[in-house]
């Protein structure tokens, strides 16, 4: 049974994930040198490094190992180590409660995965995943459907798809920033690995509704994630919610791939899955980058609350520039990498809609509309994140006295922002590699399929006159900027620039208190989505005397409808059941002896029959 416990996959899928994990983990590890220094004691820094190394290794092994049982062991180590990292700041009360919710949700997810793997074992009588794959071909459809649902729920919890996302915005921001970066950028992706490896590769797509279900969940995750991110005032929490959104975008590609494969559109399935994988690696890059920058801001100012930040672009120019790069990439602006993968996802949905009819066509169009809505909201969200944090005037003394972080923290951020640019410009090369990976997952020969026209142009297949050349786009953008600059400064000469005060309707002593705040920025969204966010406010007048109000305190909150309508009732009923079971356990020894007696009696009677 365990004869081949430590046999590894050496196929395109595992290699892709190993590459992604290393690409993000190594810069994050370098970043932690500067980040941990001064923040923690020597002993804690030592522990942090050991946990980090174990965390990275457990992820690497989880995405490569070929034995289902050993996979579970590494999966569990990954969850546990990341739990210790979430509660690393033990002095914060929030860390403990966030960690508890995280570990509970992680184990509920793992329980479902265990159930699915046990069902698979019942059919294959082996834990070797390749043997299970062969056994799956003769598996009856209802069992397949059950295993699919179990895996979807199990890995979905880890990926943070709505409504199983509840732990993600609590746990990710609470860890030290290099860990938040690895968790959001890479650890969530191991769940996507689970989707690809177990559902598509091993189980094989069996029904049309699988793809449709994944697409619905993906669309809901996209919208929910970004709406919560928009109204969030905590910089790292905002990024964590945006991870929920991006997992949704990745799953749009994956779900479309599943759907198209079942519809018999093999090439389109490869295209859609490649788009999903492209967004996967892109999200790893820019979310890793953004979390590192948020960590630098936290290290320099001691706060993650955006209402206390501002004006950092002058004090921390490198962090600001790299954060801007990440913000542009995540808002899908050309020619950066996020734009390329969203374009590919749109094209996949479009071609899918073009090749189908009836309800599926309308469904895919609505998915594309939701993706567009999401990317519009993401742009608003990151205008807010960058604008409030880095632009304007500092909103607190700490922010005003911030200093740029050390080289070991700047360098990884610069490296990753260059990656965001490179993955945008070299799209044609990358899509070739990803085509191979997704072809392998779907079991489709891709040697004749190419989604690029030459070394620079992306083009969907079959060619319908659509293509995208990001290097050309970047070249034209830069040269037009150059031309305008040349026209103004060489053609017309330099003009005098007068430094003045900001316009305040004639009032000239504006300070940071008259600036627009993060809460104010998201107000229109809070009102427009009030049916979903259920916002409420608390106002309090702090008086000197009856006639004079000294301070006015104003706080805005939103209610999580998932917590209110799903988790709270669920918890409530669990507690209620537990409470009523307590009546059995009264502490009376006589009663317990009676229980034992009744049990033995029952067993004897049962045996007698």
């Amino acid at each position: 049974m365990f004869g081949n416990a430590l046999v590894f996959f050496d196929d395109p899928l595992s290699r892709f994930f190993v590459f992604t994990i290393l690409l993000i983990s190594l810069p994050s590890a370098v970043y932690s040198i500067g980040y941990l220094k001064g923040e923690y004691s020597r002993k804690k820094i030592f522990i942090a490094w050991i946990l980090l190394v174990v965390f990275i290794i457990s992820m690497l092994l989880a995405v490569t190992v070929r034995n289902a049982f050993v996979f579970l062991i590494f999966w569990e180590i990954m969850s546990l180590v990341s739990y210790f990292l979430v509660v690393f700041d033990t002095e914060h009360e929030k860390s403990i409660s966030a960690g508890t919710i995280y570990i509970a949700m992680a184990h509920i997810g793992t329980a479902f995965i265990i159930a699915a793997l046990m069902l698979l074992y019942c059919y294959a009588h082996t834990f070797d995943l390749l043997a299970i794959k062969d056994a799956c071909q003769t598996m009856p459809a209802p069992i397949k459907n059950i295993i699919f649902l179990l895996l979807l729920f199990g890995f979905g919890t880890k990926a943070g798809i709505v409504p199983l996302h509840i732990w993600l915005p609590l746990a990710h921001p609470q860890a030290p920033s290099h860990i938040s970066s690895i968790m959001s950028a890479v650890m969530l992706k191991t769940a996507i690995y689970g989707f690809l490896r177990f559902i598509i590769f091993i189980l094989g797509v069996d029904a049309l509704w699988w793809g449709e279900l994944v697409l619905v969940l993906a669309s809901v995750s996209c919208l929910t994630g970004i709406i919560y991110a928009l109204v969030e005032g905590d910089l790292k929490k905002l990024l964590a919610y945006s991870s929920v959104e991006n997992i949704g975008i990745i799953l749009l590609g994956v779900g479309a791939g599943i759907l198209f494969q079942k519809m018999g559109l093999g090439i389109l399935a490869v295209f859609a899955l490649s788009a999903g994988l492209y967004h996967l690696i892109n999200h790893a890059i820019f979310k890793g980058l953004l979390f590192l920058c948020a960590g630098s801001v936290y290290k320099a100012t001691g706060t993650r609350n955006m209402e206390k930040l501002g004006g950092l672009i002058k004090l921390m120019p490198w962090t600001a520039a790299t954060f801007l790069m990440g913000a542009m990439a995540i808002s899908a602006l050309p020619p950066l990498n996020g734009f390329i993968s969203e374009w590919l996802t749109f094209q996949a949905l479009f071609l899918g809609a073009g090749n189908s009819g009836g309800a599926v066509k309308i469904f895919l169009s609505i998915c594309a509309g939701i993706l567009a809505f999401t990317s519009g909201l993401a742009a608003a969200c990151f205008v807010k994140a960058f604008g409030i944090t880095f632009l304007g005037l500092p909103r607190s003394k700490k922010a005003a006295s911030a200093r740029e972080v050390s080289l070991s923290m700047k360098a990884p951020a610069v490296f990753m922002s260059m990656l965001a640019l490179a993955f945008g410009l070299c799209a044609a090369f990358i899509i070739r590699w990803l085509t191979m990976v997704s072809g392998f997952v779907l079991g489709i020969n891709t040697s004749r399929i190419s989604f690029s026209l030459n070394n620079f142009n992306l083009a969907p297949y079959p060619v319908n006159g659509v293509n995208l050349s990001s290097p050309l786009l970047a070249l034209i953008l830069v040269s037009i900027i150059g031309l305008i600059f040349a026209f103004l400064y060489l053609g017309l000469g330099k003009k005098r620039i007068v430094i003045g005060k900001t316009w305040g309707c004639g009032y000239y002593n504006l300070d940071s208190r008259t600036e627009y705040t993060a809460t104010a920025f998201s107000k229109p969204f809070r009102i427009a989505f009030s049916f979903f966010l259920l916002p409420y406010r608390k106002t309090e007048k702090i008086r000197d005397s009856l006639y004079q109000v000294k301070h006015f305190k104003y706080e805005v909150f939103t209610t999580s409808i998932f917590k209110r309508y799903i988790y709270d009732p669920l918890l409530h009923s669990i507690f209620k059941i537990a409470h009523s079971l307590r009546k059995l356990q009264t502490g009376s020894i006589h009663l317990y002896i009676a229980y034992i007696f009744i049990t033995i009696l029952l067993l004897i009677i049962l045996k007698g029959f």
Binding site: I366, S375, T502, T514, A520, A528
Partner: protein, 307 residues
């Protein structure tokens, strides 16, 4: 040769873009029984601003200085993608209609950042509202474009503009796009270009701190953006026939003339809408955009049904 054609077309359109704004303003004034500024007023403004000194807020950073360049460059790049005279195809290799939408988003992103850069409450308010409206408009535009593209099987601008397919779904999509155009070019009833009260502004509030050359660049890019939207409508609603290209220079002139007539007709229509309606308050605009979203979904449904 093709590249030269694209460059020539783009330069002509950049020069032409402010005229359209002047024309709309003139029409509006004439309908209101006013004399109004000359049609060439946008050009006078542009050159006046170009030769003026600039006042910059002490709070601003390099984002503020860089934004006008990025805003103008992104709208000119988007203009390169727009086929106007069919045959002198736009830079089709560079991208499709989705790229065009993203390029406009790039400009908007930087303009919104510039609004927040000067630590002014008006700027922040403008940025917030602009991003609010534009994020609502984004799905409408995409789904409407989706419906049109499904009719011709491609999202390529050249294919969309040269396809002579005319269906009911296209008409409904164009109606949705018209509403998108109104809100994206900051026209009544969503926004008001002429307002002088900071609190009622959306787009203009972001630009409050700009002066001189930077303002000239941003205004020019607003004219270009408007022209892009009108051209999109003109191309989808009444595609040109490639016959004109085959007849050489004469054909190009006919095509150009037809294009101008179409764009001015759309401008006339927008002007009439502007004078006959009042600006909605911000949260009424949500209903307006919601209605256009319903139209775009209807367009996809009609397309699926074969209309």
């Amino acid at each position: 040769m093709a590249v030269l054609g694209v460059i020539a077309q783009t330069i002509i359109l950049i020069i032409f873009a402010p005229l359209l704004s002047g024309f709309i303003r003139k029409i509006k004034n004439n309908i209101r029984m006013r004399k109004g500024a000359p049609v060439l007023q946008p050009y006078y403004n542009f050159f006046k601003l170009l030769f003026k000194d600039e006042v910059i807020s002490e709070n601003s950073s390099w984002i503020f200085g860089l934004s006008p360049f990025i805003v103008l460059a992104s709208s000119i790049t988007a203009l390169l993608l727009m086929p106007v005279i069919n045959g002198i195809v736009s830079l089709n290799q560079m991208g499709d209609i989705l790229v065009l939408i993203s390029l406009l988003a790039l400009g908007r992103f930087f303009l919104a950042l510039a609004g927040m850069d000067v630590a002014s409450a008006f700027g922040g308010m403008g940025s917030s509202r602009e991003m609010f409206i534009s994020s609502l408009v984004e799905p409408v535009m995409l789904v409407a474009v989706f419906a049109v593209s499904l009719n011709c099987g491609s999202t390529s601008m050249a294919v969309i503009s040269s396809a002579s397919i005319f269906k009911l779904s296209t008409l409904v999509a164009v109606l949705a796009l018209l509403m998108v155009t109104v809100s994206e070019t900051s026209r009544i009833p969503v926004d008001n270009q002429e307002t002088h009260l900071e609190l009622t502004m959306i787009h203009e509030a972001m630009l409050l701190e700009y002066s001189g050359r930077s303002l000239a660049l941003i205004e020019l890019s607003a004219h270009i953006k408007q022209l892009i939207f009108y051209s999109l409508l003109a191309n989808i609603l009444l595609p040109l026939n490639s016959v004109y290209f085959n007849t050489g220079l004469f054909g190009i002139f006919i095509a150009l003339g037809l294009y101008l007539i179409k764009v001015f007709l759309i401008g006339l229509f927008i002007a009439i809408i502007e004078v006959s309606m009042a600006k909605m308050r911000l949260f009424r605009a949500v209903d307006f955009i919601g209605f256009s979203f319903a139209l775009s979904i209807l367009a996809v449904v009609l397309q699926t049904a074969g209309f």
